[in-house]
């Protein structure tokens, strides 16, 4: 039995869906004024400034940390540059208790929710205060307190997990949802399709936010999909979908706010496709000059989402040149000072090598650890970071 109610035709009629062109929702022009007919969104001055400060902080953090990577201070970094509005605008439309399951380029969400510069640095340098205990590459942040699930490197795996997480939220009935972020490249993975289909079938309060930023490392969107972007796929799953100008902070906020209400109040999952551009390289290991032109980038630099919001704030008399100067100076200083502090902190203790694999260290692993410590005691100079932790007798084990 099938539930598809198709019209009957008596000659073969093929369709490729080209007639469906999804419009792009926009509110704010690049000069900071609203499009004609666009309704001014209901965002308080306080909230608008919280959003703007998060955008600027993210940009400064990214610039400084890329420079730090180039200086050899850290092994790897990923910038959010160009996509600040897509990430922060959407996060700002949620309740802070909603869960965020991000890809890896959503540090702006954390900044907005109050992750401190110290917390960023501890992760980037994998020191003893890193919540992830120095186990993952830089930028794999996580915060239980801020409802930001720890980042996982494998692409798109978080998308079906978001569906599952949100299903649990629905059962608990506390009126919360989950948002998951990913790029248009990740949307090619099977996990994406599994997640959307399951969410639609089981009416799960989850928001899928695709940052369509034009490139998956070096692969341009045109080599990623043949269709009109990622958004039309929602039709196949009978899911609500909206395409938004991803550089328009007001549109991103409004669209996500409406999506949240569909998700939480009506248990309808929503797909948001944010059209933007990854102005920076994919990561510090990537060099875009090998696959795209400076002219192409220049076009998008003109559409800078931060400048666009600043002009809007200035038009509302909520922000001045002086405010900008102070924020920039303070933030640059804080980032530098915090980085120096974090770099000096010791690495995680040696026993973090074997903790958290299971809830308790199993006997075979405890034995391996004892052997390792005995070995380090014989060669302390070869393991300068851990020699202190390996002291004591083998019998002690040293496991918590």
């Amino acid at each position: 039995m099938t539930t598809t109610k198709a019209k009957v035709a008596y000659s073969p009629v093929f369709t490729d869906g080209a007639e469906f062109r999804i419009p792009t929702f926009k509110l704010l022009k690049q000069d900071g004024s609203l499009y004609k007919g666009a309704k001014a969104p209901d965002i308080s001055k306080e909230k608008a400034l919280r959003i703007y400060r998060a955008m600027v902080t993210t940009r400064i953090l990214d610039e400084r940390m890329l420079a730090a990577q180039r200086q050899g201070r850290l092994s790897f970094y990923m910038q959010c540059t160009g996509e600040e509005a897509a990430v922060i605008g959407s996060t700002a439309a949620l309740d802070d208790a909603d869960m965020i399951m991000a890809q890896y380029r959503e540090q702006g969400s954390l900044v907005y929710r109050g992750f401190t510069i110290d917390e960023f640095m501890n992760q980037l340098f994998g020191n003893e205060l890193d919540y992830g205990k120095g186990r993952q590459m830089p930028v794999h942040y996580g915060s239980a307190e801020l409802n930001y699930m720890t980042i996982s490197s494998p692409l798109a795996t978080q998308i079906p997990q978001a569906t599952g997480y949100a299903y649990g939220q629905k059962l608990r009935g506390e009126g919360h949802c989950t948002i998951t972020y990913f790029g248009e490249g990740a949307a090619s993975e099977g996990d994406f399709h599994a997640a959307l289909n399951m969410a639609a079938v089981h009416r799960v309060p989850v928001i899928f936010l695709c940052r369509n930023n034009g490139y998956a490392i070096s692969t341009p969107a045109a080599e990623q999909f043949a269709a009109d972007g990622v958004a039309p796929r929602a039709y196949g799953y009978k899911m609500d979908v909206i395409r938004v100008d991803g550089n328009d902070i007001l549109a991103m906020h409004e669209a996500t706010k409406a999506a949240r209400s569909l998700a939480v109040e009506h248990n309808r999952p929503v797909l948001i496709e944010a059209m933007s551009y990854r102005l920076a390289a994919h990561s510090s290991s990537d060099d875009p000059s090998g696959y795209r032109s400076k002219d192409e980038e220049a076009v998008w630099r003109e559409k800078d989402p931060i400048l666009r919001m600043r002009l809007w704030l200035e038009s509302k008399k909520w922000w001045t040149e002086d405010d900008e100067k102070k924020l920039q100076e303070n933030m640059r200083r804080e980032v530098l000072e915090t980085m120096k502090r974090a770099q000096k902190r010791p690495p995680p203790a040696l026993d973090t090598l074997v903790s958290d694999v299971y809830d308790e260290v199993p006997p075979a692993l405890a034995e391996q650890f004892d052997k390792l410590k005995a070995h380090i005691r014989r060669h302390p100079d070869a393991y300068p970071k851990s020699a202190e932790h390996a002291k004591g007798t083998a019998k002690e084990g040293g496991l918590k």
């Binding site: 795996t157 996990d191 399951m198 694999v357 075979a364």
Partner: protein
């Protein structure tokens, strides 16, 4: 006590867990009203509702991805993969996600509540895609627990332990025994320990080790050997990961000989891991090489299944060779 077959015991375990804790959920392909293709989840939807026991779309990576998220949220998902042969689309979610969730987040988040059930093994004329034993693939992944029961009593006690365990657990059910294995099962909520092997029978000449459906095969082989005066110590490993090295090593210290048997192919099979560890521990006590009796290094066949499988005759011969070495 009630007489149950293994499916009834598994169903009873799920019922027990769902009645005790509303956070426990069962889902998978055909798991809802139909009760699963083997009926392991019969009546659970009727009893606990569609929100807690339901069909998923046919997408294994989605089922386990969904289950990972649900477990991270604090629910206690029991996800069914219809056959262990079809667990591979979910391999990434299990190996890269379930197994590493706690470690990568420094225990900010974990999916300890997750249990994945899957029928495994041959002997049902299932051919190459309804007969595999994939435990060794997952045994290479720190962070998972892998459990295999051998009869209804074990199935209920171990499944309840897996559901309550604070680590993601794969529970492989020997489908050949689903209806064939019948026995007394306590009606109450009880758990058997994970990570502990069980010595089923004490002996002095040779240790014979296996898990799941292979325990029945071992039983027949040992009967044959004992008629010839060979005293066998029989151990059910029960938990493949992390496995109980102590119990097996202590047995081999006593007997000096070890025969390990599993249905999965020889090369890279878990018997190899056991053999390596035991020779390391027990080298000076060994009277003969550690023997592995396993499936062949072929895909699982259909018509020649009996020839392929490590049956009681092959295990018996290995016991004799070991003793006569």
């Amino acid at each position: 006590m009630t007489q149950m077959n293994m499916l009834q015991a598994i169903n009873n375990a799920l019922d027990t867990a769902m009645a005790a804790d509303e956070r426990v959920l069962c889902f998978g392909e055909d798991v809802g009203i139909f009760g699963g293709v083997f009926r392991a989840t019969s009546n659970l939807q009727q009893k606990y509702g569609k929100a807690r026991c339901f069909n998923t779309p046919l997408v294994e990576q989605g089922i386990i991805g969904f289950a990972n998220g649900l477990a991270a949220q604090g629910s206690v998902p029991v996800a069914e993969i219809q056959f262990a042969d079809y667990i591979f689309p979910a391999f990434d979610q299990i190996v890269n996600e379930s197994a590493k969730f706690r470690y990568r987040s420094g225990n900010l988040f974990n999916v300890g509540g997750l249990t994945i059930r899957a029928p495994y093994g041959g002997g049902i004329a299932g051919g190459l895609y309804h007969s595999q034993s994939p435990e060794a693939y997952f045994a290479h992944t720190p962070g998972l627990k892998i459990v295999v029961p051998r009869n209804p009593h074990q199935a209920k006690g171990l499944l309840l332990a897996a559901i309550h365990d604070k680590n993601p657990t794969l529970f492989f059910e020997p489908k050949r025994l689903y209806r064939a294995s019948v026995g007394d099962v306590p009606d109450e909520d009880y758990q058997l320990p994970l990570g502990e092997a069980e010595v089923l029978k004490e002996g002095t000449d040779v240790t014979v080790l296996g898990w799941g459906a292979q325990m029945e095969v071992i039983e027949h082989a040992v009967e044959m050997a004992e008629k010839e005066g060979i005293s066998c110590e029989v151990i059910d490993l029960r938990t493949i990961l992390p496995w109980d090295v102590e119990t097996v090593a202590n047995s081999v210290f006593k007997t000096g000989r070890l025969v390990v048997t599993h249905e999965a192919p020889l090369t890279g099979g878990f018997a190899g891991e056991i053999a390596a560890t035991i020779q390391e521990r027990c080298f000076l006590y060994l009277e003969s090489p550690i023997a592995r009796v396993t499936g062949m290094d072929t895909p699982f066949p259909l018509v020649l299944e009996k020839e392929h499988l490590p049956n009681h005759l092959k295990v018996y011969e290995a016991i004799r060779s070991s003793v006569e070495f």
